[in-house]
Symmetry: C2
Subunit: 340 residues, 2 copies
Amino acid sequence: MDPITETAPELDKTLALKLAFEPIIEPLKVVEQRIRDQARAFDPSVEAYVAYAIESHGKRLRPAVALLSGGATGAVLSSHLNLAVVVELIHAATLVHDDILDHADKRRGQPTANARWGNSMAVLLGDCLFAHALRLATAFEDNRMSRRLAEAASEVCSGEMMQTKRRFDMQLSVEDYIRILEKKTGALFAVATELGGFLNGASPEVQTGLHQFGMRLGTAYQIYDDCLDLAGDEGKAGKTLGSDLRRGKLTLPILHLLQSSDPEESARLSKVILEGKPEDFTKLVETAIEAGALRYAVTAGRQMLNDAREHLDGIPHSNFKESLNSLCVTLDGMIAPMAQ
Amino acid sequence: MDPITETAPELDKTLALKLAFEPIIEPLKVVEQRIRDQARAFDPSVEAYVAYAIESHGKRLRPAVALLSGGATGAVLSSHLNLAVVVELIHAATLVHDDILDHADKRRGQPTANARWGNSMAVLLGDCLFAHALRLATAFEDNRMSRRLAEAASEVCSGEMMQTKRRFDMQLSVEDYIRILEKKTGALFAVATELGGFLNGASPEVQTGLHQFGMRLGTAYQIYDDCLDLAGDEGKAGKTLGSDLRRGKLTLPILHLLQSSDPEESARLSKVILEGKPEDFTKLVETAIEAGALRYAVTAGRQMLNDAREHLDGIPHSNFKESLNSLCVTLDGMIAPMAQ
């Protein structure tokens, strides 16, 4: 495996993702249908709410890695499709609750559940999705599936809580921050890839490798998402830049900036963050870019993607494995330009 | 089995409950300890929040019926203790989210999670408890345990959502309302008693009987709680009367009042509810009492408790079975005086 040293040329991200999804186009369609079918499992009076929340046209990254991991370890079985549905529903539940926390009124161009029906309904809708996901997880023959999925769901919730608790905590260490991302985002990717292997009876070593791969891919993806919030293309991202910062969510570039600045400068920056004036934020982001803090975060993300790929070493060559690799390369191609 | 025809004398509710819990005093202590131990399963930064939410000194009714159901079908096993922990954690999770929905600042004399740490932390704390409960549920040897528990959790969430959706819906039928209570409260009691039998290898008939018992006991308990909100002793209840009504939560007495009044009076009452003036509410509650609507709800609750007891017929006599019966008699003794 060649490490990623060159930056991929500017590319259509959707197209690049689609290329990586090539070997699983058909099963992914079935997964999409099964996800949509889930709404019907609910009481008719609740069904339309659930349908709205799950038909949100996300990238379905977590289902994709579950399926690719299945293909890379033998075959994409029907049980992989169910695994893909469960991880996406857990993800959908956390998004509904995230949007409440963030007072977000749009997601992927659509009004959020809280914007449409208020916080109360959104809290309960998230709960419904979450409970239903874990209910589906108990339908696998082997107990281990539901156990690992519930463990991952628990990690995701703990990670979210740790992050929310530490809003505006300027002392948050980079180490603790990465640990939060591993729980909040990495854990669900990790369980998707790990169980993709488990369902094919892959060896414990291969399962561990896949877990590590998913953990790193997911965490790097979150770092990318965090950087995008500071330095993305406002028009393309469809959201206001610096919104994490406004809510006190200190992401990797900002934490590095705070901790690599001299005490006086760090105190000044902390004050800017606490005061939360939009005009100061633009300057703060510029400072982060000039001081190399954004480059630091991008490098950390790229390193994580290189690490991820190394964990696939024990898996024989296949177009599925190639796609898992491609996902890393694609993400790298998305994250790298931000440091330039 | 004698039907409950006489009203039990005014009694100390806590004492009456304690008497019903007599055969499970020791296992209930272990359950209490195991519930408290759960906080330690979380990241240290989250632990204290979880500890606060689960050390709330509730009545532990759901754990109690799980244990009694175990005793009544053979023996209270270690797995019954775990079942008791899981149902109480699911309940604790829903309480944390309920308090957000209701903007409640106190529960059992203590500040609620949302009052102490804000809605965001409370949403996530509820999620953590919920995920952890379902994670514990996957530790049982038989898949059926986690499946039934996740199904019940899903029912609870759907019921909550149906209720919230139909706030201020004056057309809500009594039938639909009872269905909401069965999901929201009955389902968790039902799964506690049903699985209490399942863990002892009870016959499908006995499990079904226990399920029906728990469903009716839980639903009657919710009817009692709803009546208490209208006609309880404000001092004793520790909360403001009529708070359901103010939030548009139309409970059994009010629904019956609306639907048994002539169209003109019903329209007038609907207007009072929509306008939400506290001084009109006092009058509305008086009307509900005078028109026999409270008596109607109390009678429905008492009938449900009688039905509950009939479902224990297939279970041989034991002090555990007697306690399940006693719980119904105790609850009846609490609900009956409200119609007088």
